[in-house]
Symmetry: C2
Subunit: 565 residues, 2 copies
């Protein structure tokens, strides 16, 4: 591509609402332009990158035997009502009335439509397994769209749905998709981790998120330094400590602690460390209040807590009034000693092995020291209810856990029979009996990958694309062609030869000054820059610089071809 | 592709609402499935065809120097109000409120968004000309969606928009797009015509429709048998007859004609032919009624009539009451003789050369014979206001006009300054002066092409794809592999070799009986079918049949490769 015949419109200023690097750089390079909140136009430059991601996703899905199809973006309410998601999806679902006042939505995902397709098209176990996918525009009416295409309302997504007779077959396709995703992100040249994810309310059997690693990532992920274990923080298990609970050695002592409310207050007052302190949360359970006890240095994991039989799917803390009514004290002085028998006491694994601990006294301005389970405090059940912390042992027994930040760009999920059951999608098995199919679903945020890659790979000068995602692999820059026509001719010839070798090349023939030209090529992140200059022409060399290098180096044409092969 | 690993689901029955061949065949082959009125899911089979069309369109747009980009499907009301189209587009525009009650529409076309993009991105004449395009889902809320994807509500369209400083530059890009479209439809292997089209209310300078020829087409197109002139019927000019008007030779005679109202009645009553009869229509003009006079064998062309200065953009016939009030008679007895002076008399070119004609008497149950212009009847102006008919001379002077039916699949249009003016899209010219840009727009109905191709190319057995659009070029069918394992091996080896040669091949390894297998391959329109059978294996030949041939022929492997090269 000759840049003189392309539309490149880099800009210096970036709107103040662009908070993160990828959003800023996509605007500065002109890859995207905002049309309205959460709606972006992809310019020719941006689309070149988006299409490369799309092509790799498509190739790997096809290689894995998935069949591409295309579903409408506008989908009828009736179908979404069959699964109950017309209501349950909430206000993110963009609802639409057509001219006849029939209700539709703009699909944020396509389980309903594909399962409807499957119940009509699939009749026999002989047609299974089958894995359908599409790469199609989606819409989620985010309450607060932000970060450019990272959390846009309209976005490009690859969504796949597989259908099975048996769990074994589902697990096989799930594994194939896991491998396909691994190949996708490896080919894209991104650092990523496949992390175990919680299956949430759907209650499927297995789920992994594919996370592109970036310090600015919204998601906390944990991984082992001694194995390939990785999980998102909601899912990561905190193992029970290997040690047994020591026998009590101190007396239970009631201590006046005026205005000592927080864990910090308590450690300062008692001259101890937070891992010797027990904190108690009172939450609203399905039948009355429930006490959750953790070590002072640990935090509650709400996803784990939501799985307790005593708690609803979304639990909330008891109010100050409710706490006062139930215990006679205020938050800050709660503890398991002397708590009314009606309140179950669920204790985190790490907190359950404490002895001689400090906890609230269930009376204002009062704590206990030397408290012990069983002897002093009732313990209903021990559970894993906390967030893991760096240094925890890895749940697979190998190594210790480390933290990283990630951006979710892919998700594989064993849905089980949820949607097929709701829509009555059955096939006849070998015995001629109707069986509800099992399903898996597999998403990739195609447009989001572009932003995630930039978050992971940028510097002060701009984007540092991996080769597979760059709008062009090579930029050929011409210095002062008007003073020396040989330069233009040499650059043209180099550009032609690179193109003929199938190396995507952009020729910067805009006639800009070198500084502006180089700044543009660095900003838009072209991996390889070659300069044809008067001096180089005389010496028979080209000035070459890799995007991530500090210095130019002089190389011959042949060396350049070798390097790009 | 091995068919055993594909999802092919042909069906025998077709819903009664599928009226035309393409709709029926797309359902029978399983290419599409209906989700709701005007909304279709493209199955893996259908999508293979759609993507081939899309790829050819993209290649030719790129070759012509157009730059691909991607605009949101959901677009804000504010922008559509700037051009007035929020109202003017009518109920086909699908309007949507988001969760914050902001109004949007699902784009049926993207002039507003691209012109907004251009006014922000293009500042200097140096950036011109530029031609942006996208291949993106569109939505039109048709009152009566029908014919499957031929007139669906959601559809895939390629829309391009070019920007220019001068009319000369616009004309150049328009010509380049015309040539690109010609290449697209030629490569697709379709019989088509580029026909002159009316520029309508937008009033641009030039417009051509690309019509795929098919007897079932909705559009009437006319073409010359002696040149490459072609136009849609609205646009086709009816030349003035070469002859001058003969001098009057008959007396004007008032004739009682009870109940003689229609042209047929008149010709029967007077024993003459309709080309000797003048018919008169009274329509509501901008200032009172206007008379339009045509030969009895001609029909009014409403698009031409709408361009008369006296008429509004959409004119309607006067009511019986209005006619009675203005002329004292009822429809059926109108004529130019004695019509009140306040009513302009616009006469079609062919009617203007009539002499001694028959016309209504402007009194109930009365006609005139021997009527003549000037002597008996006032003639305000002669205009081309009729539909052309077969046998009319071609407007370019070469040959006579013939009729055909077509399906509009592409449209190129010189928009001029309409949208750029409305949105204030200007660039600085060489003198540093702001100039409103000129625009062209260029659409291709990507999904519609698939249906149009089927309308043009099908027979009783099913679709007859041109090579470029076929889901696969070749089908390799295996007969009785279980009885003779050599057959399966030979078919596998043939399949592999074809695939390695880059020839898209499907291996029918489903183990069906020959009849079912052949019926499927003919139904889905595979251009080349090769059968590996016991007999052929013994003779060292393959049974080959082209989709459009009547008979099999035995050919060798090498002959097959030659044939497909």
């Amino acid at each position: 591509m000759r840049l003189s015949q392309f539309h490149l419109a880099t800009v210096k200023e970036v709107p103040a609402d662009a908070e993160i690097a990828s959003h800023q750089l996509m605007l500065r390079t002109g890859m995207i332009r905002k049309l309205a909140s959460g709606l972006y136009t992809w310019s020719p430059l941006g689309l070149r990158v988006l299409r490369k991601v799309e092509a790799i996703v498509r190739e790997e899905m096809n290689r894995a035997g998935a069949l591409e199809m295309l579903m409408p973006t506008i989908q009828p309410k009736e179908l979404w009502e069959e699964t109950g998601r017309w209501q349950k999806f909430g206000p993110q679902l963009l609802k639409i009335n057509d001219r006849k006042e029939q209700a539709f939505c703009y699909a944020p995902t396509a389980e309903e439509v594909i399962t409807d397709f499957a119940r009509n098209e699939l009749n026999s176990y002989k047609q299974l397994p089958v894995n359908f996918y599409q790469i199609q525009t989606k819409f989620r009416d985010e309450i607060r769209p932000r970060f450019g295409v990272m959390r846009a309302r309209e976005f490009l997504m690859k969504d796949a749905y597989s259908f099975h007779l048996t769990q074994e077959s589902l697990a096989e396709t799930y594994e194939a998709m896991y491998q396909a995703y691994t190949r996708i992100f490896t080919r894209l040249g991104l650092k990523f981790r496949a992390v175990q994810a919680d299956t949430g309310a759907i209650g499927g059997n297995a789920s992994h998120e594919f996370q592109v690693l970036a310090d600015s990532g919204e998601d906390a992920i944990v991984f082992s330094d001694g194995s390939d274990y990785a999980a998102n923080i909601e899912k990561a298990e905190a193992l029970a400590p290997a040690m047994a609970r020591p026998a009590p050695s101190a007396e239970l002592k009631r201590v006046d602690t005026p205005r000592v409310r927080t864990v910090d207050d308590v450690t300062a007052h008692f001259g101890t460390s937070p891992d010797r302190v027990l904190k108690t949360l009172l939450v609203k359970g399905r039948d009355g209040l429930v006490a959750l006890c953790l070590r002072g240095d640990h935090e509650i994991n709400e996803v784990k807590a939501a799985k307790l039989a005593e708690l609803p799917d979304e639990s909330v803390l008891a109010t100050e009034e409710e706490i006062l009514a139930a215990t006679g004290t205020r938050p800050g002085f709660l503890g398991p000693v002397g708590l009314p028998d009606s309140i179950p006491v669920i204790v985190d694994r790490s907190a359950a092995v404490l002895a001689d601990f400090i906890c609230g006294g269930n009376a204002d301005d009062t704590h206990y020291s030397g408290a012990n389970w069983a002897r002093d405090a009732r313990l209903t059940r021990v559970e894993d209810i906390r967030q893991v912390v760096a240094g925890d042992p890895s749940p697979d027994g190998n190594g210790t856990l480390q933290f990283a930040r990630g951006i979710e760009v892919g998700h594989v999920f064993q849905l089980g029979s949820k949607y097929a059951q709701a829509l009555g999608a059955t096939v006849l098995d070998e015995q001629g009996k109707a069986q509800v199919m099992l399903m898996g679903c597999y998403g990739v945020g195609v447009s989001r990958i572009v932003a995630a890659a930039i978050e992971q790979r940028h510097d002060e000068a701009g984007i540092v694309w991996p080769e597979a995602m760059a709008p062009w692999r090579v930029a050929v820059c011409i210095i002062n062609p008007k003073r020396n026509p040989d330069i233009a001719a040499a650059a043209e010839s180099l550009y032609r030869e690179l193109s003929e070798r199938g190396i995507e090349t952009v020729l910067d023939d805009r006639g800009l000054r070198p500084g502006s030209m180089f700044a543009d090529m660095e900003l838009i992140g072209i991996p390889h820059r070659v300069v044809v200059s008067e001096r180089g022409l005389a010496a028979g060399t080209l000035e070459y610089r890799a995007r991530d290098a500090e210095e130019n180096r002089a190389i011959t044409r042949d060396e350049l071809f070798q390097l790009l092969d």
